[in-house]
């Protein structure tokens, strides 16, 4: 949800419309959940679940064996996974043949830059590179201003570096 909020706020800065909604269930940190985001240049009418996602972001790669993460994805969709593996390995594992597969070791990047294994922020950087949905400079500016109200300079720079590193390191195959 934190990641979804970050994407929504970054989209607002670029004058986009959006909807970000979590699917409520187990309310414990780190429990597997689905969250949905829609982004559009036009106001968004529809208020129903996302069943045909153009982009799927998997924060926890251990779910790949348990859930069909590519369910409903169109040909030409983008699957982005937090893993140290190469895109080819994920393509093999998921059987997602038609679209784009991107991987990034966001957990390691988070440990290196933020000091904690929370992959949300680096995944945002990888998402920007893999999809081009938004411009990275605007997003970094947003991370600086929104985090600036609550956190120290060290944490802000950690998060900015996390986004940038993931943007540079994401592998697209």
């Amino acid at each position: 949800m934190t990641a979804a909020k970050l994407v929504a706020e970054a989209a607002l800065r670029q004058d986009q419309y959006f909807q970000a909604s979590p699917e409520y269930g187990p309310e414990r940190m780190g429990a597997p959940i689905q969250a949905f985001t829609r982004i559009s240049a036009e106001p968004i009418d529809i208020f129903c679940g996302v069943t045909n996602p153009d982009i799927v972001v998997v924060l926890d790669p251990t779910l790949l064996g348990a859930v069909d993460v590519t369910d409903g994805m169109p040909e030409g969709g983008t699957l982005l996974v937090n893993t140290a593996d190469e895109p080819a390995v994920i393509r093999e594992q998921t059987g997602f043949a038609s679209g784009k597969v991107a991987t990034v070791d966001a957990t390691q990047i988070a440990i290196d830059t933020i000091g904690k294994a929370i992959p949300n922020t680096p995944m945002l950087g990888a998402l920007l590179k893999a999809t081009g949905i938004m411009d990275i400079d605007g997003v970094l500016e947003h991370v600086r201003t929104s985090f600036g109200k609550k956190f120290s300079q060290e944490i802000i720079e950690g998060n900015v570096n996390a986004v940038r590193r993931a943007y540079e390191e994401v592998k697209i195959g």
Binding site: A4, K5, A8, E9, A11, L12, Y17, F18, Q19, A20, S21, P22, Y24, I44, D45, I46, F47, C48, G49, T51
Partner: protein, 393 residues
Amino acid sequence: MAKTVAITGNVACAHAMRQIDPDVVAAYPITPQTTIVEEFSNFVAKGQVETEYVTVESEHSAMSACIGASAAGSRVMTTTSSQGLALMWEMLYIAAGLRLPIVMHNVNRTLSAPINIHCDHSDSMGARDAGWIQLFSEDAQEAYDNTIQAIRIAEHPDVHLPVMVLLDGFIISHAIARLDLLEDDQVKEFVGAYQPGYHLLDPQHQATMGAFDGLHGNYFEFKRAQVEAIRNSKQVTIDVGKEFGAMSGRSYGLFELYEMDDAEVAVIVMGSTAGTTRAVVKELRADGVKAGMIKLRAFRPFPAPELAAAVRDMKAVAVLDRAESVGADAGPAYLEVRNALYDSERRPAIINYIYGLGGRDVGLELIRDVYSDLADLAGGKSVEAVSYLGLRE
């Protein structure tokens, strides 16, 4: 100048409350309560409002405290949801019977059993006869806008009744959306200062409220006066909606007509599914189908003659109900619309769908099915009068 923000429906409602800055908010702060009061309590803690914020031990007590504070002449607000509204039941009638202009959010969520926390309109539909004005919201922007307008409608001297502002649980309440907040001063000026008329703390005009009126008292006459007051609220709702539009650029009425000018078939719907329906109407219009939609905003008072006039020239109409009236064999909105049409010389064929109970998702495909049935019905084919949309059978 309005400020564009990325916030949830609940936070939007809390901001409306902050800008209104009511005298008293009494609320039960724990589940099934929503984060609206949690956000509002932050504003209280930071000193951003002057509100006396009272946390109580149950929803029943929350409404009781609101009633006491309102009878004492305060501007009063609260928020609730689902089982919380159910627990308020007897006090809802008392708030309306005492003609207290309390404004309350109800985040529409279903009632148990079985336990389910998700969206439908069962909770507020059950309260439809309690004497409250009920305004549905499609999205977070409307929930925010309705909150501000509700104050003016409730407190209008011709009305003086409580108002429930309704928004769809999770779909709107917990989703982050883009919306415009008005300036604090604009809201302050729009709602103005509360002039309570009679209240209990005015020694110059002593009053008794809600006392036992004896076997030969005027209970019947009080109820009749309540009916008149809620009828009056129609015009007030329209006037306030226009005035709000002049300020914000977003006007409101009793319902919204979408692509209805030359429509031959239409769906009547409340809450967030109106958005999904609009998206389907856009598709159908692109294909040359004369489809329209009526988004019902005011469910109480029910705009019966106005709706009958709006659909009189249509071929077929479907009413979507996100609530079941068990034993009635039809949904509550459908029964009202059908009743509204009885006296019309010209009226469309009309069908009903019960949908989305317990949060069951309603996607574009299901709404397309409804319009497909409407096309059949308009073409003279027989379609089942009441059916279930998205039910696993």
